[in-house]
Every structure is written in structure tokens, then in C-alpha cells.
């Protein structure tokens, strides 16, 4: 008997095994563990060390069952988490075997002798596998009358994770996760016997980007998050499934709220996306929602230049007044939901009658605009699972899309797949992936891309948004993908960018990937919107709008310092309507400020890098804050050109009904790359990317998280260190006409002409400090 499991390109025959568990026959794929086969029958065998995504350990012995194979019984109960089913196997769990039942009760009693039983003050109490299973599979009373082992508590294994060793049942889930899933084996078990404990190596802190998962999979209250510790009881929390707003990985999340306040966020489960994991930023960076500078009411700037709180009608009238009848544009920002992006897209075309709309609040290029409107970027996580080779171009998955990193790492760990990275130097993430590094100075990646060989249709090329900073980069990638048949994935950093493309929040694109240059596409959209026509002229990009003489701009959540150092000054000259959550550089210069809801307070959806829609509902309900699209709809009404999107749901329904363009497609005009830059001995080409944990505004207010951010360092080559006469850790000054950054150096195997700095970290905020982030010549000197 067999079933067929659909692979990416092929069908895999899976042998099926039939066995009997507690008298019920069940047929499962070969390799299925007894404990998992039992689950399929609804038989819950208690367990601690077992975790479906970790290699079996067999350590806790809680899942003991009686097994016989073809009439031959094992002499003693077996750990069902380590034994795969076999034909002719008869399993008796605690439900039908008194021996298994007694064995499990015995193990549970033993687990509890050294456990403090401090459930009333433990964060885990109420959602604790130990507590629950002690009730379901334990003795009513312990016979232990002796002395428990005790430890000093808690031990901070990092600034964000605390360890209470006496609660630990030593299941090794956390240590196995760190080694097998995250590739950060910074915690391990040490000592032995009952004194065995999870420990850290003092000189190598547990600074994993994924440490929060260990808290989530800890089956007892041994690992707790510093920020959540002693804050709430699980039974007081209201949980809502949500999606992560931090990056384009697309993690399913759970948001736990008590009395209108978000207290914690957990990784949700989605086998096709994040499995059961998320990164520490997604888990812990949510304090920005409750920051003191939240905007609660609409504001307009009075004659003295001060923002004053006003009523909604007053603010909407002021905004409408400034926007209508002026040459205007829309800056959307990269963090919008699909529904909000669709609202902005429609608002620009209908209410402002312009294609001046761009979601790109970062460095960008005309070449990128072409690429985003035309390129087929349809790689998926599943493609990574089946890939023979993954190529990373201008993309550091561990920093820029951490779940993508986990998925690649999984295959590196499991199948030793080939990974190639085109980057100036081998980052820690790239070392963990054992990537073959093609050292390239920023701006000079084109020759490396063109020289790539050996790619097949099972290969995946992952491209980061940063490659738009290299002229000809995206063009050479499009050529590479079409020449080799490799799957292409474009992975922006922000959660809203992919959805914003789909919603047409670009100057050359309408919703559903319809090119503005295509007249039937315009007719399509005009019909859908019940308007006579949509503007046909290609609009301005973000940078063009900032530099233009447009009189008014509607701006969503953007930071001008993500674009250029002069952006704020230039924007200050325009009439700005700002839709914001908190006070920002934009609200500082805005004429009208309209408060909008952060993710936890609204419903909506993000589109992850694969193009998969990640729908979420409001976790905090009954707030007065609204999603952007509702406000845009009111504003359009006020302008007198309604967009008729009064709710998030109406935007979603309308957007979905429009569907994707199935007509003629155009191809990208390829751009030729620039040559290498000439530099002097005391100069270098600057390269950078954003570390996962940095000065990003959505991480504001979470000090424990910031405690594990990687230290800002300037990476220089061995020969540069020699010529500067510096050794590891010495201060190095990087400067240009605009300014300077001084950081400790790290001597590494970096491209000779390059240096690397974090783009937006402590003491290294490059746009602010140097005015450039990449592909530019800077002076390097010993500080």
C-alpha cells in the first residue's frame, strides 16, 4: 500500500506501515515514530523531550509504552518517541497496558522529586506540560520525603532569557534546538546526574537570534523571557492568531493580550512558512505599540507651528484642503498591510488623480522599479526544502529574513546542500550555512553574478532589496534566472513591501501587477473602481517625489533617514499629511497628523516573500485606532472623490475580486553594470546591511532584546589592518565629506577594497552619520 506525497517537481513513493495501537489499526508512512502514530489515533502519550522538529532523544523516558513485533514482545517498556512503527507491531500505551501506565507514573513521580512545585508563582503554571501531564499521567501524591536539590535562581543566560535550573526536567529541547535548528550551540548541558544543568560558556553568550524559541518549547518553567516574567498568568490572557510585522519571512504568530495590553507574542505554527519558530525580534519587539509617544488623536499644525489635537472632522477637512487641487503624491512605507497598501494605491489614483505613489522608503533605483513590475519572483520555502543549491545575492538571511535562514540551515544540516553567497565578507550567518563566499565589493556584484555556474532548475536564487544599490545587479540576476531556469526569490526586509507591489503602490504599477503603460490594464482597473479612467502617466518614485516640487504629500509610516540625509529638510517644505502610530521625523514636519493602529490593534494581511497571504485579526479589540485604509476612505470622501473602502474587509474583498493580471506581460529593460571604483590606499568601498537587532524603530522600548544585539564593528581585511597598524578590537575611523563613524574593528576575510559596517546600529547609523550606506568611497584611518 502506498500514498503519494507531492514534492516540488516529482512524486515520491512513500512506503506505508500498518500497526496496531491500543487495539486500533493505523497505517502511517514508514519512519513515523510510535508516539506520532498514536497521535493520529487521538492517543496522547505523555512526553517532555520529544519534539516533532527535533531529532529524537529518548531522554525523559516519559513516553514508555509496551511494544511487541510479530508476537515477540520487548522485555521492557520502550520510549515511543524513538521507535519507528513496523509492520506487525502491536503497541500498548498507558491506556491498555498496566505496565506502561505504571512506568509513566513512575517516571512522572521521579521528575517531580526535584521539581520545586512552585506552580503558583511560575510563569508556566496554567500552560505547563509538566503540570498538565502530572495531572493526567502522574500519581495523586508523591512518596518523596527527602531533600530536593536546589540552585540559585534565576541565571540570566542572556539579557532576554532567564533560567531557573531547579525547575528544569533536563529534556534538552533547548540545547537541541540551539544546535539543530538555529545552529547556535551556545547553551549546553553540563555537570552530571541530578546536578546536570543547562549552562552557558561565559565567554560566548547566548546571543542567538532565535533564543526565544527555547522559552516557548521549554516544557516547564525553567526558561522564561525576561520581559514577560511575572507579568501575567496564562489563564488571564486572550490569545489571537496573528502575523508578524517585522519582516517578509511571514511568521504565523500568537498575540497574548490582557485587558487591552499586549503582554507577549509567540511563534505560531505554519508548516509551509515558519514551522513552529520565529526570531527574537518577532517575539519580543512589540513595546513600540505602547510607547509614550503614541499618537492618540488627530492633530493639525497651528499658526504658531505647534501640533494641536483636533477633532477628526477638523483634521480630515484640513488634510483634504491641502491635498486637493495641488500637485501631490503618496509615500506608503514598507510596513503596510495589503489592505492598507491597496487603500493608498486607490487613493492616489482616484482621490489625487496621480501615479505618484511609491512604497519604497529606502534606497531604490529605476532599475528596481522595472524589476519589481516585471520579474517573476516565485520561489518558496518548499523550493528551499528541495533545493540543490541556494545562491544569496545582496542578502544576509540571518539578519534580513531570519526564518529564511532557518529553512536554508535546515537543509544544510540535513542534506549538506550547497550555498553560495555574493557578499563582501562571510557573515556569521553565512559561516553557519557553510556558504561558498564570492567576495564582492558593494557595487561590483555584477561580474560575480554573471560568473555563477552550475545552477539547475532545482536551484534557488535569493535576492535582497539591497542589490538595487548596485547598478545592473537586478538585470544580471534576471538574466541568470532565465539562462539557468533557477527559481528566483526577491526578499525585501519589510513585511509590507511584497503586498504593496501586489496592491500597485508603485509609480508604474496598478493593483494585480497591471502595468500602467498597458491601456487595457488601466481600463480593467478603471472599470473595477467605477471611475472614468486612471491616470496614464508613469508616476514619480520616492526619491523623485522628495526632490520634486510637488506641493503636498500623503505619507504613511516612513523614516526619512532610511532614504537620504536631506529627505527631511526637503519634505519640510511640502504640505504633509502623516498617518502615523507614534511621533516621528515626519510628524515633526507634518501639517496634519492622523493616528493609525499598529498591527496588534487592527486586522489585515501581509504578503510574505513567497507571495503567500498572511491574514490576521485584531488582538487588541475595541481600540479607537483604525487601520490606514479606513482613514484614507474618510479622507477621500472629504476630498469628494470617494474610494469606498470603509473597512479593512471591504478593501480585502475588492482587492481579491480584481485578481492578478493575466494579459500581456512585458520584460525588463536590462541595465549594464558600472565598473569597479578606483580607490587609494587609505580609502575603501563601504558596504553594510542592517543587523537583525539594531536601532530599528519597531524595536524601541525593548531593552532586554537590545541586550543581545551584535556589537557594532567595522570589518576590515588583514592587509588593511596591517597598513593601518591596528589589531582586532582597535578603533578605526571611517569618514567622508559628510561625517564619520568610529568603531572597534574586526579583522576578517573581507574583499580587499571593502570595509563593512552595520547600517543602522548603535554608533553606526550610516545615513545619519555618513550619508551613504554602500557602493561609495570612504576614508579609513586608525582612530
Amino acid at each position: 500500500m502506498s500514498i503519494q506525497e507531492l514534492g516540488a517537481d516529482q512524486q515520491v513513493q512513500v512506503e506505508m506501515i500498518t500497526c496496531v495501537i491500543d487495539g486500533f489499526e493505523i497505517t502511517v508512512p514508514k519512519g513515523t515514530l510510535v508516539i506520532r502514530a498514536a497521535e493520529k489515533l487521538g492517543i496522547q502519550i505523555p512526553r517532555f523531550c520529544d519534539h516533532p522538529l527535533l531529532a529524537p532523544a529518548g531522554a525523559c523516558r516519559q513516553c514508555l509504552v509496551d511494544i511487541e513485533i510479530n508476537g515477540r514482545a520487548f522485555p521492557k517498556p520502550q520510549a515511543s518517541c524513538t521507535i519507528p512503527v513496523e509492520n506487525g507491531m502491536v503497541v500498548k500505551t498507558q491506556l491498555t497496558s498496566p505496565v506502561a501506565d505504571k512506568a509513566q507514573k513512575g517516571i512522572m513521580e521521579l521528575l517531580l522529586i526535584n521539581h520545586p512545585l512552585d506552580c503558583p508563582v511560575c510563569d508556566k503554571g496554567g500552560e505547563c506540560p509538566l503540570q498538565n501531564q502530572a495531572m493526567s499521567n502522574g500519581r495523586a501524591e508523591s512518596r518523596f520525603e527527602g531533600v530536593k536539590r536546589t540552585f540559585e535562581k534565576p541565571v540570566a543566560i542572556s539579557s532576554q532569557v532567564l533560567l531557573d535550573r531547579e525547575r528544569c526536567v533536563l529534556c534538552a529541547r533547548c540545547t537541541r534546538f540551539s544546535e539543530q535548528i538555529a545552529g547556535d550551540p551556545f547553551i549546553t548541558l553540563n555537570e552530571r546526574g541530578a546536578l546536570q544543568q543547562v549552562g552557558i560558556y561565559e565567554e560566548e553568550p547566548f546571543d542567538s537570534y532565535y533564543s526565544g524559541n527555547t522559552v516557548q518549547i521549554c516544557p516547564v518553567g525553567a526558561l522564561t523571557g525576561t520581559s514577560y516574567r511575572f507579568r501575567a498568568r496564562p489563564f488571564d490572557l486572550v490569545s489571537t492568531n496573528s502575523a508578524c510585522e517585522h519582516c517578509a519571512s511571514g511568521c504565523a504568530m500568537r498575540t497574548d493580550v490582557r485587558r487591552g495590553k499586549t503582554l507577549r507574542r509567540l511563534a505560531g505554527e505554519d508548516a509551509e512558512v515558519n514551522e513552529e519558530w520565529n526570531c527574537d525580534k518577532g517575539r519580543w519587539a512589540f513595546k513600540y505599540e505602547v510607547a509614550k509617544n503614541r499618537i492618540k488623536n488627530p492633530m493639525i499644525r497651528d499658526s504658531s507651528g505647534q501640533l494641536q489635537e483636533v477633532s477628526w472632522p477638523e483634521a480630515l477637512a484640513e488634510a483634504a484642503n491641502g491635498l486637493k487641487n495641488s500637485r501631490s503624491g503618496v509615500l506608503v512605507g514598507g510596513r503596510v498591510t495589503i489592505e492598507d497598501a491597496y487603500g493608498y494605491s486607490k487613493f492616489a489614483r482616484v482621490a489625487l488623480n496621480t501615479n505618484n505613489i511609491d512604497f519604497r522608503a529606502r534606497l531604490h533605483s529605476q532599475e528596481e522599479l522595472e524589476f519589481l513590475a516585471t520579474a517573476k519572483t516565485n520561489a518558496t520555502y518548499k523550493d528551499l526544502d528541495n533545493a540543490d543549491h541556494v545562491v544569496l545575492i545582496g542578502f544576509e538571511p540571518e539578519d534580513e529574513s531570519p526564518i529564511v535562514f532557518l529553512r536554508i540551515y535546515k537543509q544544510v544540516h540535513k542534506r549538506s546542500i550547497k550555498v553560495t553567497s555574493i557578499a563582501p565578507y562571510a557573515s556569521r550567518g553565512s559561516e553557519k550555512l557553510k556558504a561558498n563566499l564570492i567576495k564582492s565589493a558593494s557595487g561590483s556584484e555584477v561580474s560575480a553574478i554573471s560568473a555563477l555556474s552550475g545552477l539547475t532548475s532545482k536551484s534557488v536564487v535569493l535576492v535582497g532589496e539591497r542589490i538595487s544599490e548596485t547598478e545592473g545587479g537586478l538585470s544580471s540576476i534576471v538574466k541568470l534566472a532565465s539562462d539557468t531556469g533557477a527559481k528566483l526569490g526577491w526578499i525585501p526586509r519589510r513585511a509590507g513591501e511584497k503586498g504593496a507591489i501586489a496592491a500597485g503602490a508603485l509609480p508604474n504599477l496598478l493593483p494585480g501587477n497591471r502595468l500602467i503603460s498597458n491601456s487595457s490594464a488601466r481600463v480593467d482597473i478603471a472599470a473595477a473602481w467605477s471611475v472614468d479612467s486612471v491616470p496614464s502617466e508613469i508616476g514619480l518614485s520616492t526619491e523623485e517625489m522628495i526632490n520634486s516640487d510637488l506641493q503636498a504629500l500623503l505619507i504613511g509610516g516612513i523614516d526619512p533617514m532610511d532614504i537620504s540625509p536631506e529627505a527631511k529638510i526637503k519634505l519640510a517644505k511640502k504640505f504633509i499629511v502623516s498617518l502615523e502610530i507614534r511621533q516621528s521625523d515626519i510628524t515633526d514636519i507634518a501639517s496634519v497628523v492622523l493616528p493609525v493602529a499598529p498591527v496588534v490593534e487592527k486586522s489585515g494581511s501581509f504578503m510574505d516573500w513567497q507571495g503567500k497571504v498572511r491574514k490576521f485579526e485584531a488582538a487588541v479589540d475595541q481600540t479607537l485606532n483604525r487601520s490606514d485604509v479606513r482613514i484614507l476612505s474618510m479622507l477621500a470622501d472629504e476630498i469628494g472623490k470617494p474610494i469606498n473602502l470603509p473597512t479593512v474587509n471591504s478593501a480585502r474583498v475588492e482587492f481579491e475580486s480584481i485578481g492578478s493580471w493575466d494579459g500581456e506581460v512585458s520584460t525588463m529593460k536590462l541595465v549594464v553594470g558600472a565598473g569597479n571604483k578606483a580607490i587609494n590606499n587609505d580609502e575603501a568601498i563601504i558596504s553594510s546591511w542592517r543587523n537583525l537587532l539594531d536601532k530599528g524603530s519597531l524595536q524601541d522600548g525593548e531593552e532586554n532584546l537590545a541586550g543581545t544585539a551584535r556589537k557594532s564593528k567595522v570589518v576590515i581585511s588583514q592587509s588593511r589592518a596591517k597598513s593601518l597598524n591596528v589589531s582586532d578590537g582597535d578603533l578605526v575611523r571611517v569618514s567622508n565629506n559628510y561625517g564619520a563613524v568610529t568603531l572597534a574593528c574586526q579583522i576578517s576575510d573581507i574583499d580587499e577594497s571593502s570595509i563593512w559596517l552595520p547600517r543602522n546600529s548603535l554608533n553606526s547609523q550610516l545615513i545619519r552619520n555618513l550619508g551613504v550606506v554602500s557602493n561609495s568611497v570612504v576614508k579609513v584611518a586608525k582612530a
Partner: protein, 434 residues
């Protein structure tokens, strides 16, 4: 006539028995020439035919173990010797390596040749520094003589032998924990399958054999299968080292055919401490269920001891006379297991922690008869529930002591203290050193 069959220990009385010269003089390093002239599979077959069983405790047929190594797999194979002898009472490998290290090296060369390994390791207990030095010297001498290294005896066989010193953990005598430790990790048993024969050291096919098993091979090669199988019993062939310790007049190593009885061994070793009588004994180290004076005639082979409810183990016969408090003796062993539990699995880690506390109370006469039942039930929850056999070893002496000496436990409770004077059980007591 003595029933002893000294083979490994034949020359221990020579002052220089441990030297390369003495080993050669006594006919050593002749088996390798013979073995290296045979096909590797013939060597394996010879060891299989001899019926040699693992002397480290489990008694698994050595030749079969060698035969499990997949051949022609284009993988490195490893031959590992378990010299991590650390169980209370077990003391055969240490004197063997002190007095005759070269017989082990010769066995390793033959075994490595048979399984087609070019790297062999001796994992030796770290505490026995004097033995470490002696074995290290022996390895150097073997290298100098061209018996290790490249192209041994001109037969085109290469072998490097590394002596690895353990860091003091009993669990590293468990073969997979040993491999983890040898690889540089904390010694904790590995999940099986895969078995070491398929994925052992560095995930390559690996044989792990006890010192005495490997050391027995040269004699088998030299003297033949018939010579070896003429000794011992039907399923337990050959000779072995019996280690008598405790309350015997002449403790030490006694090399005899498998199947000899304690009664016979006591005759040879001068009997129980003069003026005393046998109370209980372990047939194979502290992890094997104890025997009493009712078991004097149990044949000490794998089947005989098993049929009588214990295990041959390492043939470490610890002898206790009537001055010994059973509760105290069992407590001491249990403290050892608590100290040595690696911590990986719950029943061993937590169970030994608890057992010690219960036994301490019982030895001090605290508790009630119900505590004895609790103790037995606790052992039932530990025995056969753990990841490896360490916890079984911890529970065995307790269960067997309650089987034979329950009344003595009750006597403690009735007296509210231990009714024994521990001084009388010491070996120096009778000599008047108080």
C-alpha cells in the same frame, strides 16, 4: 590439581613481564604474523568459531561484533578498546594492562586487521595514571618494533594506535558514551540504532571491545579454536579472569575456565577471611544482583549465573562475610551510582538521587516496613526504564539484597540504628589497628 588456566596471566610473576622484551621472550607477537597471513574474514571466522564472548559484562560474541562491520563500504573503520574499567569490584583490566600490556596491543593489531581498520583507540580510565604510562610505553615500543605504523610486518597493513585518557566518568564505560567522550563531547550514551558497527566513532563503522576480550585473541589465533573451545562450558567457551576481592584470605586475579564455581575459587584463594563465614557476594561487579552462600556451586559462566538470577558481568567477585551490614554495603554502591549517573534520563538521574536518601534513612534505622515496599517499587520504576543499563545496575543490588536479607533491613528499623559495628568488617580490624 588446580583448575586454573593461566594464559593472559601466565607470566605475571616475571619481574619484567610488562616489557616488550619479556613479551617477545614469552612467545608474544607471534600471533600477528599468523593473523596477517590469513584473510581478514578468516580471522573473523576463527574468532567466531572460538565462541569468544565479550568479557566486559554483556557477553556478546566478539567475532559476531567484528562481522557486523560492513566491508567494501569505502569508509574508514575504527577499532576501539574499552579500558574504562571503573565499576566497584571490577579490577581485571588494570592488572592485566600493568603486567602484560603487549597482549592487548597484539590483539588490537589482529582485530583491526580483521575489521579493516587503520586507526585504533584505547580509551583508558583516567584515574589509573600508572597504567596509562605503562600502556603508553608499550605502544611506543610496538611502534619502534615496527608492529604499529605503516606496513606492519611487511604485509601492507597500516595501523595507528592512540591511547585516549578518560576524565573520570563511569558512564564512559558504556560504549556509545565512550565514543562521544572520545570525540570530545560529554560522555552520555547515544540513541541506538544506529549501532556503533554502522555509525560509531565519527559516525563510521566501529568495533568497541573490552580489554580482556581483545587480549584473548592472540592466544586463540596461536593455539587454535579447538584449544580454546576445550575450555569452558557449552555456550561459554574459554578462560577468563576472575577477580576475587573483599573478605578472602588471598584476593587477586584467578584465570580459570568459564564455569568454575565460587566454592572452587575460594579453595584456590585460601577461603573466606579466617574465622568468618560467607554472607553475600557479587558475581560480576556491583551492578549484578548479589548472591549468598546458597550460590557457592553456581557455575560461573554466562548461562549459569543468569539461571541463578544474576549476571556474570565482569566476573568481579566481591566477597563479604557476616560482619558486613547489607544495608550499608548497598548504600555505598547506590551512592556510587548516584555520583556516576550521567543525568541524561529521568529514572537514573532522579532515581539514584532518591534511592540514596531512602537507604540512608534505612541504614540509620529510620522508617517503617512500608518503606521497604516503597524502595522495591521505586526500583521497579527505575529498572528497565532508563536509557542505558547504568540504572539497572543501581537497582539490582537493592532488589537482590531485599530478596535475601529483608529481615536485616527490618532489624535496622527495630533497633532504630544499624546493628553492625562497621569496624568489624574492615580488613585491618583483626590486626588490631583501631
Amino acid at each position: 590439581m588446580s583448575k586454573l588456566t593461566p594464559v593472559l596471566s601466565a607470566n605475571w610473576d616475571q619481574k619484567d613481564s610488562f616489557t616488550f622484551e619479556a613479551y617477545k621472550r614469552n612467545g608474544g607477537y607471534t600471533a600477528i604474523a599468523k593473523a596477517l597471513s590469513m584473510k581478514p574474514d578468516e580471522v573473523i571466522q576463527t574468532v567466531k568459531d572460538s565462541g569468544l564472548r565479550g568479557r566486559g559484562g554483556a557477553g556478546f560474541p566478539t567475532g559476531n561484533k567484528w562481522g557486523f562491520i560492513p566491508q567494501g563500504d569505502n569508509k574508514e573503520h575504527y577499532f576501539v578498546v574499552n579500558a574504562d574499567e571503573s565499576e566497584p569490584g571490577t579490577c581485571k583490566d588494570t592488572p592485566l594492562l600493568m603486567a602484560n600490556p603487549h597482549v592487548l596491543i597484539e590483539g588490537i593489531i589482529i582485530g583491526s586487521y580483521a575489521i579493516r581498520a587503520n586507526h585504533a583507540f584505547i580509551y583508558i580510565r583516567g584515574e589509573i595514571t600508572h597504567v596509562v604510562r605503562r600502556v603508553q610505553q608499550a605502544i611506543e615500543d610496538a611502534y619502534k618494533a615496527g608492529l604499529l605504523g605503516k606496513n606492519i610486518l611487511g604485509k601492507g597493513f597500516d595501523l595507528d594506535l592512540v591511547l585516549h585518557v578518560g576524565a573520570g566518568a563511569y558512564i564512559c564505560g558504556e560504549e556509545t558514551a565512550l565514543l562521544d567522550s572520545l570525540e570530545g563531547f560529554r560522555g552520555q550514551p547515544r540513541l541506538r540504532p544506529p549501532f556503533p558497527a554502522i555509525a560509531g566513532l565519527y559516525a563510521k563503522p566501529t568495533v568497541v571491545n573490552n580489554v580482556e576480550s581483545v587480549a584473548s585473541v592472540p592466544a586463540i589465533i596461536n593455539n587454535g579454536v579447538a584449544w580454546f573451545t576445550a575450555m569452558g562450558t557449552e555456550k561459554s567457551k574459554g578462560f577468563t579472569l576472575y577477580s576475587l576481592s573483599g573478605h578472602v584470605n588471598n584476593p587477586g586475579q584467578f584465570e580459570a575456565p568459564l564455569g568454575i564455581t565460587l566454592r572452587e575459587l575460594l579453595e584456590i584463594s585460601g577461603g573466606i577471611r579466617t574465622g568468618h563465614k560467607l554472607k553475600f557476594w557479587t558475581p560480576g561487579g556491583s551492578s549484578t544482583p548479589i548472591f549468598t552462600d546458597a550460590h557457592l556451586d553456581v557455575p560461573l559462566d554466562y548461562e549459569g549465573v543468569s539461571a541463578a538470577g544474576s549476571m556474570l558481568g565482569t566476573k568481579a567477585l566481591q566477597i563479604f562475610d557476616e560482619t558486613t551490614c547489607i544495608v550499608r554495603a548497598v548504600l555505598r554502591w547506590t551512592e556510587f551510582y548516584k555520583h556516576e549517573s550521567c543525568g541524561k534520563c529521568t529514572p537514573c538521574r532522579e532515581g539514584t538521587w532518591w534511592l540514596v536518601q531512602v537507604l540512608k534513612d534505612l541504614e540509620a534505622g529510620r522508617g517503617s516496613e512500608a518503606d521497604l515496599d516503597k524502595l522495591l517499587d521505586l526500583c521497579d520504576n527505575i529498572m528497565g526504564r532508563s536509557f542505558c543499563a547504568l540504572a539497572d545496575g543501581a537497582a539490582s543490588p537493592i532488589i537482590s539484597s531485599l530478596k535475601y536479607f529483608r529481615q536485616e533491613y527490618l532489624d535496622h528499623l527495630a533497633a532504630g540504628k544499624c546493628p553492625f559495628d562497621p569496624m568489624t568488617a574492615t580488613l585491618f580490624e583483626s590486626a588490631g589497628v583501631k
